[in-house]
Amino acid sequence: MTGSLAYLWLEAKRQWRNREILIFRLGLPTAIYLILNAANGDTPPTSSGGRMVAIAALAAVISGLAAGPSLGDERANGWLRQLRTTPLRPSAAVAAKIVVAMSFALPAIALVAAAAGLVGDNQGTALGWAESIKLVGLMWLATTPITAIGALIGLTFGGEAAHGATTLAFVVLWLAGGIFTPPSQMPDALAAVARTLPSYGVVQIGESVAGGFSLSASAVVVLAAWTVGAGALAALAWRRVVTR
């Protein structure tokens, strides 16, 4: 156990002091939010959570999928094999990636919410402190299935292929997953797909807090199903990785 924690600590330090990672995962979503907000301030709200929830969900997707390329690279360069010659429990390497991905998702979502609070979100309603904290916390928990998808990608594809698969997953979740366009404005078939994607679950959770309604049961079901499904597939992929 102490070994797993030591590995988690090293993995966290390693990623948190990487400037490119910080800019991409934390800076980029906030910058996108501020730019969009300044660019078309007067468009009517597209959903009750508005732009802030959509971009916070984008931040969740960016950080959540990050385990994919990271695991893929370390499988390709042999570091995971090197770890397997030590007493470290093999699953600790995957667990560390997921936990560190979550450690980025929380501030990434919080920064977008904070930016909305500072500039005064002109879509959706302004939130108080308690609601903001609730929004950030629940959207962060809803990021869990996306980290499972990231781990699944990293364990299924090695090296460059993991980067490609992560980009593909990002584009699908962003464009078809209810972040770029709400399902209500999509063609029916695409909307049906969007409602089953975990990114839309994250959006729905955010909207329910921002709009003051109770949590959407369908969103919770979708998020739980993706967590279990991607988690189980990742576990299967993991077994294939460790036994050659």
Binding site: R14, N18, E74, A76, G78, W79, T85, P87
Partner: protein
């Protein structure tokens, strides 16, 4: 074709800590390790010598539990390899294993230390691997030689009973190689066991007290460096025109090891050319086109491993 020089030494080693028993491992249609039986005793420094593609890395993977045999049994410290690894009894330096970007040298060593029950101190590890000057440096800012030493440090940091090194000096120049083995010797002088894979005969000769030669996944020779060298270097080839001579006749001559027929000539290898030629001239006085050549050490080693490589 197995030339077992001194199998008794291997079998009677005091405490066998690693055992291959009839181990076969295939990857698709390639048989990487083919019926390998081998024991490594406590305190030995063993070179696993063979050309590229001989099955050395697969043997190392099998020993570490990174690969599983299709047939036969691999035991490490009397149990499953994975259990010995989990218990922290083994440290390994794999071929070309990468390091995680952004980590500092001392952090990686600290991580490995935290995983083993009785690690070396960080000071000793840095000193053994000659890394004191770069302890705080991130791994992506290291030179190739420094990275190699970091990988050695990660294998040593846990203070394992058995150290496994797969082609550890492949990326190093001559001076760096000498320094590397100097450091490994300093570590093993305290009674630890080392198994290293190499394709360099001179490296096996200089470092190991036992050399195991494999090619095509099979054991070809097993003995002290002097014994293996004698087997490789003391070999001569005799070539004669094939006319009227049978391969069987040549195979029965004293000291003959192999006989090959090609392009109208019979070529045999012998460990005692004088005795072979005397007997040959007695039994076939009219033999024509006799040529005798002394095979150099490298060439003989190549010959030895090539034979095993072609089933």
């Amino acid at each position: 074709m197995t030339n077992d020089i001194d199998s008794s030494a291997a079998q009677t080693s005091p405490a066998s800590i690693a055992t291959f028993d009839g181990v076969t491992r295939r990857y698709g249609r390639v048989t990487a390790v083919d019926g390998l039986s081998l024991q490594i005793g406590s305190g030995e420094t063993v070179a696993l010598l063979g050309p590229n593609g001989a099955g050395k890395t697969t043997a190392v993977d099998l020993l570490l539990g990174l690969a599983h045999p299709d047939a036969g049994v691999v035991r490490l410290f009397g149990g499953r390899p994975a259990d010995a690894v989990a218990a922290g009894r083994v440290g390994a330096m794999l071929q070309d294993a990468g390091l995680p970007q952004g980590a500092r040298v001392a952090e990686l060593i600290g991580l490995v230390r935290s995983l083993y029950p009785d690690p070396l101190s960080i000071v000793d590890t840095l000193r053994l691997a000659d890394l004191e000057a770069v302890a705080g440096r991130r791994v992506e800012r290291l030179s190739g030689g420094q990275r190699q030493r970091v990988r050695l440090a990660l294998a040593l940091a846990g203070n394992p009973e058995l150290l496994i090194l797969d082609e550890p000096t492949a990326a190093l120049d001559v001076d760096a190689r000498r320094g590397f083995w100097h450091r490994v010797r300093a570590y093993v002088s305290e009674g630890r066991t080392v198994l290293f894979a190499t394709h360099r005969l001179e490296e096996a000769d200089a470092v190991a007290d036992r050399v195991v030669v494999i090619a095509g996944g099979r054991l070809l020779a097993d003995g002290t460096p002097d014994q293996v060298k004698a087997q490789a270097a003391g070999r001569s080839t005799i070539s004669v025109a094939a006319g009227g001579l049978s391969q069987e006749l040549l195979e029965r001559l004293p000291a003959v090891e192999t006989v090959d027929q090609a392009r109208g000539r019979l070529t045999l290898s012998t460990s005692d050319p004088d005795a072979t030629i005397r007997a040959l001239l007695q039994q076939a006085p009219h033999v024509q086109g006799l040529e005798v050549s002394q095979v150099g050490m490298e060439e003989a080693f190549r010959h030895l491993t090539h034979q095993g490589g072609t089933p």
